[in-house]
């Protein structure tokens, strides 16, 4: 188990932290035919990262995080398809604000509760969002999905091409920005206070920390980031379907995070990568049974790899350093 980040932890960026970025750039040049999948993975990494902040660090249990992902995706899609706002930066910005507001207002309710009650409430909010998207067919397209999404070139210069080169780099850039911000947050006193709340809420109250207000800040921010991720997926696909909102994607993102490793930042990178690549591969090889493969993979991780894939890697390195 790697040590928790504390007041004495050096915040300098370690060499292994550069790996994901190098890998992402290599993929761009070496595997151009996979950029569509790549952009999707980058978006889900951002989504998982926002979930890791509130679940892994602050200890908020949620099965409804895709409410924000979905609302972000639909906000972006509807603004483009129905209101003709097509600038990708403005769309990201508005989606972020809408989701931050939604996160703040729902956070006011759910953060007063704990454990199962909290879980149920987040689930209920995600289910509500799903039903709205499903039933308000005139603006969301309902089960058929929202078509007619048009995205202008970024800064008027970089056009979203059908090979997804622009989308891939755009997603990578946004992910990089938020990775940096979230990393700063995690190494800040506020970040450590969040870990303190996860570890022992009662004591945090007893040392004078307004716990609910701290959690609300984190929750609002995470909702905003998830909304940005949702808007990115809309910009990449130029289409919004019901699969971005509600219980199913909420569960999926949690599964991805657990697969990678919770509360350690890079679990949010590894989880979506492994999950989505496996899904892509299995869906091609076994179009009818691919879910079985995903299920088996999860079973193995849960039974034999505590702490997710990162946990296993950790153990491996600890063993090696002990043998030396």
């Amino acid at each position: 188990m790697s040590k928790l980040i504390g007041f004495q932890t050096q915040p300098r960026i370690r060499k292994y932290e550069l790996l994901p970025w190098i890998l992402a750039i290599v993929v761009f040049f070496v595997l151009p035919e996979y950029l569509s999948l790549g952009a999707q993975i980058l978006t889900y990494i951002l989504f998982a990262l926002s979930l890791d902040l509130i679940t892994g660090y602050a200890g908020i249990v949620t099965l409804g995080h895709a409410a924000f992902f979905g609302v972000g995706a639909y906000t972006c899609g509807i603004l483009s398809a129905k209101f003709g706002i097509t600038d990708p930066i403005i769309l990201l910005f508005v989606s972020a604000i809408v989701c931050a507001l939604l996160g703040f207002s729902t956070g006011l309710v759910i953060l007063r509760t704990q454990k199962l009650t909290q879980l149920m409430l987040t689930l209920a909010i995600a289910a509500l969002c799903f039903e709205v998207a499903n039933k308000a067919t005139t603006i969301t397209g309902g089960a058929d999905g929202l078509t007619g999404v048009v995205i202008s070139p970024i800064l008027g210069m970089f056009k979203f091409d059908f090979l997804n080169k622009t989308a891939y780099l755009w997603c990578l850039l946004i992910l990089f920005i938020f990775w940096y911000v979230i990393r700063r947050l995690i190494y800040s006193p506020f970040g450590i206070a969040l870990t303190g709340i996860k570890e022992n809420k009662q004591r945090m109250q007893a040392i004078g920390v307004p716990v609910t207000s701290f959690l609300l800040k984190a929750y609002t921010f995470a909702a905003m980031v998830a909304g940005v991720a949702g808007a990115l997926i809309t910009q990449t696909n130029q289409f919004v379907g019901l699969n971005v909102i509600g219980f199913e994607p909420s569960g999926e993102i949690l599964v991805m995070l657990i697969l990678g490793g919770v509360g350690r930042m890079y679990g949010a990178f590894i989880g979506p990568l492994v999950f989505l690549v496996a899904q892509d591969y299995l869906a091609k090889q076994f179009p009818e049974y691919w879910n079985l493969g995903i299920g088996l993979m999860l079973l193995i991780v849960v039974m034999f790899a505590k702490g997710g894939i990162l946990g296993v890697i950790d153990k491996f390195f600890v063993k090696r350093s002990l043998q030396k």
């Binding site: 915040p11 506020f190 303190g196 040392i207």
Partner: protein
């Protein structure tokens, strides 16, 4: 002088059960005061009413002369009220140093900082180390709390509360669960606390109470039975009756 802590007619009822019954209590500034009473006397409830964990059914709580009855826990901490827990309530996966720093960081208003890296606030480390030295546990500063023996964890429990620079400190059975050989160490640590902190201690260990306190209040069935110096309390027949029972008349 303004009392450090005062309750006026403080009562708490759970349904028909009166757990705290019209308690008028005063903690003098700089006091070493102990609250004793048999099991179920309502000592912990009383502490929870003082800290704001529970809201009273009626009555008032004043902290250093200021009305605090309707304030929540963290607001009361900001007024200078610190506490320790009867059962350790620590950050088990963190180091001892971080356990103490968390409280200091909140007191100094640092814990709101979102952007600056935590390790740049060197004052936290210095203040934490001072407290750990005071309690004689500076040597375990970098150890993870969950790996410490229980006696040392009890001292960390006190260290965290000292980080809040409390004017009033509530110690909820500081020696609970500590083997009697080691309770001397706790007493030594308590003796080292700054004299200007007003302390109210709840304790079962009578040796500790009589060595530590200059004033004792006895709580029975939620109400104050009597109050006095250790000598007076030791002689009081009502206290003997409560603790030892008396043969039927």
């Amino acid at each position: 002088m303004t009392p450090a802590l005062q309750t006026i007619g403080l009562s708490k009822q759970f349904g028909a059960l009166k757990v705290t019954d019209q308690v008028d209590f005063t903690l003098a500034p700089g006091a070493r005061h102990a609250l004793i009473g048999p099991n179920g006397a309502g000592k912990t409830t009383f502490i929870n009413l003082l800290t704001g964990r529970l809201t009273p059914s009626s009555g008032q709580v004043k902290i250093i002369g200021n009305e605090a009855t309707h304030l929540n826990e963290s607001q009361r901490v900001k007024m200078g009220l610190g506490r320790t827990f009867q059962i350790n309530s620590l950050f088990n996966k963190m180091t001892v140093l971080d356990n103490v720093s968390l409280g200091i960081s909140e007191r100094l208003g640092v814990s709101n900082k979102l952007w600056q890296s935590a390790n740049t606030f060197t004052q936290l480390r210095e203040e934490s180390m001072e407290i750990l030295s005071l309690l004689g546990i500076a040597d375990i500063a970098n150890e993870t709390v969950q790996h410490l023996p229980y006696g040392k964890q009890r001292l960390v429990e006190i260290a965290i509360s000292l980080g809040l620079k409390p004017k009033v400190l509530l110690l909820d059975e500081p020696a609970a669960g500590v083997p009697s050989m080691e309770s001397g160490r706790i007493l030594k640590a308590l003796d080292a606390l700054p004299k200007d902190i007003s302390i109210l201690m709840i304790e079962h260990d009578m040796d500790l109470v009589f060595q530590f306190a200059s004033k004792i209040t006895v709580l029975v069935q939620g109400a104050v039975l009597c109050e006095g110096t250790p000598e007076e309390i030791a002689k009081d027949p009502r206290v003997h009756q409560v603790y030892l029972g008396e043969p039927d008349e």
